[in-house]
Amino acid sequence: MTERVLLVDDEMEFLEIMAERMRARDMEVTTSTSATEALSLIATESYDAVIMDFMMPEMDGIQALKAIKEKKPEMQIILLTGHATVQKGVEAMKAGAMDFVEKPADLDALSEKIKKAHHKKAVIVEKQSQAKVIEMLRKYGM
């Protein structure tokens, strides 16, 4: 099944090549060079995973992560970082990141994480749907 991915990084060249390689692996990739733009894309589109650089102008990864989670709690976000420290990793995971990957990332390993994200999101959405159905059934006394 095709995974829908939003790739966010202020390095245009990195975005283009990474997206090309991901598309060659049958992923549907949208790119964005800013967290602000990514936030508006997330508001209107559906993605299985968001791969986002930790250090970006205007809004850093943690701020963006929190803003996305507030809008779409089910969104699976993988943060990319130039320097992965334990402190940053803990901060990211606490804020709801699915994973924290150091640059330069291995695409095969990242693809595996995207597949997991896809699965995880599907489970969350299914649970949400079930909860809605149960709620409706309760409402109608069934």
Partner: protein, 216 residues
Amino acid sequence: MTDESRLLAVDGVRFFGVMSASISHEIKNVLAIIKENAGLLEDMLAMNAKGIPLDPERLTRLAQSIDRQVARGDGVARNMNRFAHSADHPSETVDVHETIRFVIDLADRLIAMKGRPPRIEAVANPVTAVTSRFFLERLIWACLWQALEVCAPEETISVVAEKTGAVVRIRFQGVAEDFFTTGAPFPSPGEAAVCRMLGARLSADENAKEIVIVLN
């Protein structure tokens, strides 16, 4: 070690750390792009092994991208090296304009991380001073950062060095009103120690909208 020299050492190491972290982030970004290019080449070769012909135009663009990133990485490494050697001599003859340009270049990524930073121009005016190169860079960055914190994207910060007799002035012009009205804690204790060490003075003129480093 006296309290003053400890303050100076801590401030210096902190400045070195901020710049080094920014530089290493940039190097990581360069490496990430080169790695993706190598990965793309592997992908293309794997597809070629399955009978899909190689696209010479795509290969050319790939080689150009690697070339660009190597040149970028080289520039970053050169700056890193130059910065590391800033502390070689406690005092030397420094081209002040060149030092201003260097600090702006060195901090390029930190400036970009502000999102939509104001324009920064270093007005060419050859002026020399006998001082500590490293701590002068520190003080220039301190003033520039203050200006960056308050200036809007459409504004311009002009940095110009002037010499009158033995006195050198580095003017940061176009500093937005907020700097003078919000009363931000500037200079910090470490920056004040740098001033004392350099025999420098910082002044702020609200009417002229400028911060000035005065080197005697």
